[in-house]
């Protein structure tokens, strides 16, 4: 069963990775532990997961404080790309690195679909 979860997670990440303009993907727990990733070798996955959890946590608190409703996603827009952090169920996050010139409409569709799929896998609802 555990290997099955890993296989399904890897498949979900691989499918997302097939989208043009996506550079790397990772799944982390909301408390910052890395679960699965396809990050570049130069990136420390543990540190990246912890930072993503902090970004999402801060964004959630800011959204609440500013009366913006439920947090959906954070986007860190940088010179050489974008980092999307999306909730994947109650306990996990999907982190996606995207090229700067990406078609964000397509990317966001793919990311949202992948986040729902990953949530279902981790919550044991996946077929």
């Amino acid at each position: 069963m555990k290997t099955d979860v890993r296989t399904q997670l890897d498949a979900a990440l691989a499918d997302l990775r097939k989208l043009q303009d996506i550079i790397a993907v990772a799944v982390a727990r909301r408390d910052g532990l890395i679960i699965a990733h396809d990050l570049p070798r130069t990136v420390d996955p543990k540190k990246a997961a912890a930072m993503s959890a902090a970004i999402v946590g801060t964004s959630e608190m800011a959204a609440r404080e500013l009366g913006q409703g439920r947090f959906l996603q954070s986007i860190v827009d940088s010179e050489q790309g974008k980092m999307l952090s999306t909730g994947a169920g109650e306990e996990a996050l999907l982190v996606t690195l995207v090229r700067p010139e990406a078609n964000m409409g397509l990317v966001l569709l793919g990311v949202e679909r992948a986040a729902r799929r990953i949530a279902a896998i981790l919550e044991g609802d996946s077929p």
């Binding site: 290997t3 890993r6 909301r30 910052g32 997961a49 912890a50 959890a53 999402v56 801060t58 608190m61």
Partner: protein, 184 residues
Amino acid sequence: MRDATAEELDRAFAAIVDQDSGEVRVDGRGFVLVQRETMAELQRGLEEILGRGAESVLVRVGYKRGTELSERLVALVGDNADAFVEGLRVYAGRTGLCRVEGVAVDPPKVVIRASNSFIAMGYGSSGRPVCHYLRGVLLAAGERLLHRKELECVETTCFAAGDPECGFEVAPLPGSGATTPPGV
């Protein structure tokens, strides 16, 4: 490697207060006595800004300290899981982290029960478990006891959430299968 006796563990982790130099030392390391409510306020402050992201910071800090502690315990007690657990119990008790009530090593998981968690006692009532620093410390200890990485430490019960004591389960991350060379 050799096995330390309970007396040796007691001696190693005794707190030495040197009023002349203004230092508190345990096992040769400098400590500071901080009221647990102050630590709880610090955690609440982090949570106000970082939300659940605060957990990632606290678990990471606890894990670093737990890794150092585990290395020290292995140096003291050698390749002996029971003595390692005893060392953990003595250290946690002597430094005010918590009272370790029980440790059950049942591969692929370790279950730890603790009372008087410093943060749970200082935090007051909470809807969620609050002992994130302890989770990090115990995650590192669990890695040593289970001889593997890719683990997580979940707090299953917490005094601050209304449970009689705090409970922790160190177990493989979802889907992880890899093992690493032995620790303890």
